[in-house]
Amino acid sequence: MIRRLCISLFLINALVSFSQVSNISTYLDDGGRTEASDIIKSDFSEIIQANIPIIWEHKFHSGFALQGGIGLLVNHLYKPIIKPVFASADFKSDLQSGFSLYLQPLYYYTGFESLHVGIPIHFKQYGNMASSFEFNLGIGKQWLLSRHLAVDIETGVGMNFEYSLDKKSYIYNLDIIDPHPDIANSFRSRIIFPISIKVGYVL
């Protein structure tokens, strides 16, 4: 008897709560934008640098999110379209193909459609010729243009470290920043100001 009564009370309570939220459900229906927590992205600014990445982003509770991705370095298919300002020598002409890894912890100010700050970390391995590691402190903003289309623009300032077996600089070759570009050196570091434009599919 008591059991039945408890179940009935529970059901009534649940129904009342449900009807309450349903009162305002029309106003809360934003086509799933707020509930969205996963986006599959690619980075347009990396594609034009001969890196084709695929990135998965997951938003945790309280605005914290994590982006992780892998990419193919396709220098054998096409040469990077953009060239760093002040580059002097032939740019990346001899670079081998390879793979890239990407990770970024980031924090959204108010949900997916807002300003975010993060630390993007890139690692690129060009065959057995050279490798690059870079990180920066980035600030950006994401827009959901429709329920499933996201655009994310980010900029920042950070460091790049390049390692090459034959002690030549392949990746940037910046006379302005690198004080001794002609001196053989297997390890080089530079300040970078990257810009990233990502387009994604909101799951």
């Binding site: 009342v16 709560s17 009807s19 309450q20 939220v21 009162n23 305002i24 106003y27 809360l28 229906d29 934003d30 086509g31 934008r33 707020t34 945790f60 509770h61 309280s62 605005g63 914290f64 924090y107 100010y109 108010t110 459609e113 959901l144 329920r147």
Partner: protein, 533 residues
């Protein structure tokens, strides 16, 4: 080593003597009796961050409690109604956090209205490009929800630029004001929506509300009997001066008229280039606009006088402008015990003797005869980081009490010298509680508190006092709690005046908490102070 010991003893003695000197006044009366309840059981739903007593009767105390929970990244706030049994010292509570019902709802504010407890929340629907504001009410005496959540405000943001997340809801004069702001390439716009106490929309406006070029910041919204909205606007020419150089800003009073498309405004200018350092706005029973506060001399930050403006309804005319320069005696009052090694006269004669301090005001209080008063508390806080750990020092300093006649002229000015120098979580025991008694006396309750550095860390010493100013500004003084251990947990903000003029005093053990070991002190305790007069 010996020298170090002597030095330490000297410091201890000096500190004790300053503390002792502060709490002794000629009119001191013996300790009043406070009957303390048992310590309440630990609050199980997060760390208590604030308590507001809503009502009390012989059997129960009803209060609104805010707590926070630490998450992996950041923390979130939860909201509860609590019913406390005065006989058993036990309590029951109801979770009223809107996001528990629907994660999309963000709380705006929560307060009593028409004997119900209302929780206001909002949702920015980016698909519909609309902002919705909701209301849900609760019976705080039975801890039952009315299950009546409904939308009472809808704002179309289609052509209003980006919504800024700094919206708020103000309750004044039996009306509610919802203020939001948006920004586009042209600048910042302010939106106002006014509702009656049944939450029916009366009117709204969306304006740039620019009094002059530069950076305009609005605050202190008040609603008159006709539903018009008034606010203080401070204008800065340069961004770098915002909230730093009040002397490089100008103060305006702005009126949003119910039936007009554009607001009207009037600059508040004092003679001889005196500038307003801090101010407060209120509407009196005649619907006149009253602005009172403190002023300083050009090139300085220290308040050297008080002022008042009285303006006719809708800002049609300035009826009165009054200033009153503080006397040297008033400025020097209490300095002797604080700055023992400095020449008091020298301090007062310094051009900028109170640099770095700001002023916190209570609301302007109107008496039955139209006279009004205003209290300013000198306040300063600073965070010091050393070896990866940071400490925030809070200085709740003297009170300046300005008392005015109904026409805005000065009746009297008093200074209540005090110091509450506290660290980190102990900031809760700073500040003061003010209530007006039946004889028009102003009663202040505060802690005289000071942190004492130890070999490892620090500890706080405190005593709780009550100071009364009668309607002529004469002082009398009570020491309420001399036990430092108890006094160090008294939070003035949590004090509640019952209908029978008794006071409920709250001991918040939470101030003793050191993160992340929060559980041990996560409770409060009530005490009853029966008033003799």
């Amino acid at each position: 080593m010996k020298l170090f010991k002597i030095l330490f003893l000297l410091l201890l003695l000096l500190n004790t003597s300053i503390f002792y000197a502060q709490i002794q006044t000629p009119n001191s009366i013996s300790n009043p009796d406070i009957k303390w309840d048992l310590t309440q059981k630990k609050f199980p739903e997060g760390f208590i961050s604030s308590v507001k007593i809503l009502k009390s009767d012989n059997d129960y105390i009803y209060y609104y409690l805010k707590s926070f929970k630490v998450l992996i990244m950041g923390f979130n706030y939860n909201h509860f109604l609590v019913k406390y049994d005065r006989k058993t010292c036990d309590y029951a509570f109801l979770d009223i956090t809107p996001s528990k019902k629907n994660k999309k709802l963000e709380i705006l504010t929560a307060d009593t209205l028409d004997n119900k407890f209302h929780v206001y929340s909002y949702f920015h629907n980016k698909k519909l490009k609309k902002l919705f504001v909701f209301d849900e009410s609760f019976d705080y005496q039975t801890l039952k929800p009315y299950n009546d959540i409904n939308k009472f405000c809808e704002i179309d943001l289609t052509e209003k630029g980006s919504l800024l997340e700094n919206m708020f809801l103000v309750s004044d004069n039996n009306k509610l004001l919802f203020r939001y702001s948006c920004e586009d390439v042209k600048g910042k716009y302010y939106g106002l929506e006014v509702f009656n106490k049944k939450l029916e929309r009366e009117w709204g406006s969306f304006n740039m509300a620019k009094t002059e070029n530069g950076y305009n910041y609005e605050s202190d919204y008040k609603i008159d009997n006709n539903g018009n909205v008034y606010a203080i606007q401070r204008n800065y020419e340069r961004k770098s001066d915002i909230y730093k150089h009040y002397d490089r800003s100008r103060v305006w009073v702005v009126c949003y008229l119910k039936d007009a498309s554009e607001p009207v405004s009037t600059a508040l200018i004092l003679k001889n280039d005196l500038f307003i350092t801090a101010e407060r706005l209120a509407i009196n029973t005649k619907n006149q606009v009253v602005i009172a506060g403190l002023y300083a001399q050009p090139g300085t930050e220290s308040a050297v006088g008080g002022f008042s403006f009285v303006l006719e309804p809708n800002l049609t005319k300035i009826s009165s402008v009054q200033t009153n320069e503080f006397t040297k005696q008033l400025l020097a009052k209490g300095l002797d015990s604080k700055k023992m090694n400095e020449d008091t006269k020298k301090i007062v004669e310094k051009k900028d003797f109170e640099k770095n301090f700001g002023y916190r005001f209570n609301d302007i209080y109107f008496r039955k005869d139209g006279c009004f008063d205003l209290v300013a508390e000198k306040y300063y806080s600073v965070t010091v980081t050393y070896k990866n750990s940071s400490t925030t020092y809070y200085y709740f300093d003297d009170l300046l009490v300005l008392n005015f006649n109904a026409d805005g002229s000065f009746k009297w000015i008093q200074k209540i010298p005090k110091y509450e120098y506290v660290i980190d979580m102990y900031s809760d025991i700073g500040g003061y509680y003010l209530y007006h008694d039946k004889n028009d006396g102003m009663n202040f309750i505060f802690n005289i508190a000071n942190y004492v550095p130890q070999f490892i860390g620090y500890k706080h010493k405190s005593s709780t006092v009550k100071l009364r100013l009668d309607k002529e500004g004469n002082e009398s003084f009570n020491e309420m709690i001399s036990d430092s251990e108890i006094s160090c947990t008294i939070v003035p903000d949590y004090i509640y005046l019952e209908n029978n003029d008794n006071l409920i005093i709250t001991r918040a053990n939470t101030v003793k908490t050191i993160m992340p070991f929060m559980d041990k002190y996560n409770n409060i305790m009530f005490g009853l102070l029966k008033q003799r007069n």
